[in-house]
Amino acid sequence: MDNIIEVKNVSYQYPNSDYKALDNLSLTIRKGEWVAIIGHNGSGKSTLAKLLNYLLVPDTGELIVDKQPVIEENMWTVRNKVGMVFQNPENQFVGATVADDVAFGLENRGISRQKMLEIIPMALKEVHMEAFADREPTYLSGGQKQRVALAGIIAVAPKIIILDEATAMLDPKGRKEVIAAILKLKARLGDELTVLSITHDIDEAADADRIIVINDGQVVDEGRPAEIFSAGPKLLELGLDVPFAEQLKSALNNLGISVPSKYLDEEGMINWLWQLNSKM
């Protein structure tokens, strides 16, 4: 499969900052991949997202999105390909109603009113928010707001969706709703959609095909979720919660019970405990 994102030796330093937010960072993402980017607060994850959308301009290095270099002349072409959902649902509403808000991106792209009337209900339906089309965004829950933000992105059909800690401010129910909406969209669009999720949430990271770990502005590790999760308690340093099965493993280990070294998900852990129990 083709690479849809290429980041080559990119460095970026914020004005007034003493250190590089990104330090000679390189990575590639294949078309249709779902990649989770993890790292603790301040590791440079969000800076990378902003560079991909030309919200920031790299000091050195090059970014390529869907074969287009991310440079000033291509700015609008690139932004058409990349939709972003940010952390705070309050910060991304412009419309007086939910439907108006979804219309915003379409209006910006000069889509005809007739076309918009087709697209908006479809996009809202995708995230199960069609019943709220005429409501004021203010009265929605956090999870509902994020799903409306997602509908606004679905409406303009980008090739890449970047979720920049999009579920960090939500309660557990809202988080599940948003993740479910993205999973559904990804299942429908298959390789036509690439998802980049910047997250601390273990459940969100577990849905990815691949996890890239960023620390101090550099890629320090990458692999399938099971490979990365087997780091156990060290995951905390990488800015991710430790999966519960791994927490239990290290708690048992501390009590002198020998545990398998390979990563087990919860079901695997239950099976292992069950076998151990019946052997005794």
Binding site: H40, N41, M169, P172, L236, F244, L255, I257, L276, N277
Partner: protein, 289 residues
């Protein structure tokens, strides 16, 4: 400081066609130096309770007692201000409320607002900044040049500088990474232990409820539906799910094991307890052979 709610009702826009009852007949007591978690689904009335505790609104009916000092519908505004001096509230994303030129000045604002002299306020501010572990080298910097986690510490110091007896925390770790969350919650646990603070924590993080709280209030549709210790609350997963609330991961995992035929005690709320019970179980069965 002890807090008691006696038959408290609160109606938004009372006496208008838009009247909307947010709290119905609320009765509970919070002991001095308790660490109480307030949990409930969005819209269950948690925020209204916080506003009542901070004296931002008065109960429509009923009484709130702070160490015997009564707040009811007739309490004059200036008496509410007195209560507010004893209650520090850390709102969600408190760093968005920073405004001063330096960290120190920002933290001094609260005490000065309550009538302290600049000298006194500075002493209180320095003490509060030490409590949140912000090194002195940052005190003369602009709060806006700090990292997100540091900014949040400054905002919390601003609340601690008024030397509250009750500290209310509204989702204090939202948006922080796991290490940042742990540091923040450890800091509150230390404050609770060392400063004799009464803490009320509003959260969706059931792990934190299990680990830190000794008392839990569960709200649903404006009513208090359960008031017990965390073990009792988390013993009934099905009931919590009806309230659209989760149990801590350890409880979920214990229940899955029980469904598979493991015999495990009911009072497990964290991973260490689960590991210990499993150890007893595995070793115990081994000894029987």
């Amino acid at each position: 400081m002890a807090i008691e709610f006696k038959n408290v009702n609160y109606v938004y826009q009372a006496g208008t066609p838009f009247a909307n009852s947010a709290l119905t007949n609320l009765n509970f007591k919070i002991q001095p130096n308790a660490y109480t978690a307030l949990i409930g689904h969005t819209g269950s009335g948690k925020s209204t309770i916080l506003q009542l505790l901070d004296g931002l609104i008065k109960p429509t009916a009923g009484q709130i007692l702070f160490d015997g000092h009564v707040i009811d519908n007739k309490t004059p505004q200036k008496d509410l201000a007195k209560v507010r001096q004893h209650v520090g509230i850390v709102f969600q994303f408190p760093e968005s409320q920073l405004f001063e030129q330096t960290v120190l000045k920002d933290v001094m604002f609260g005490p000065q607002n309550f009538g302290k002299t600049p000298m006194e306020a500075q002493k209180l501010a320095e003490k509060a900044l030490k409590l949140v572990n912000l090194p002195a080298e940052y005190w003369q910097k602009s709060p806006f040049d700090l990292s997100g986690g540091q900014m949040r510490r400054v905002a919390i110091a601003g609340v601690l500088a008024i030397e509250p007896q009750i500290l209310i925390l509204d989702e204090p770790t939202a948006g922080l990474d796991p290490v940042g969350r742990k540091e923040m919650m450890t800091m509150f646990a230390q404050l609770h232990a060392k400063q004799n603070l009464t803490i009320i924590l509003v959260t969706h993080q059931m792990e934190d409820v299990a680990e830190y709280a000794d008392d839990v209030l569960v709200m649903a549709a404006g009513k208090l539906v359960k008031h017990a210790d965390p073990q009792t609350i988390f013993a009934d997963e099905a009931w919590l799910q009806e309230q659209q609330l989760d149990v801590p991961h350890a409880v979920m995992f214990r229940n899955k094991l029980v469904a598979q035929g493991f015999d495990l005690p009911k009072n497990i709320v964290n991973v260490e307890q689960l590991a210990k019970s499993l150890q007893v179980k595995l070793r115990g069965d081994g000894l029987n052979e």
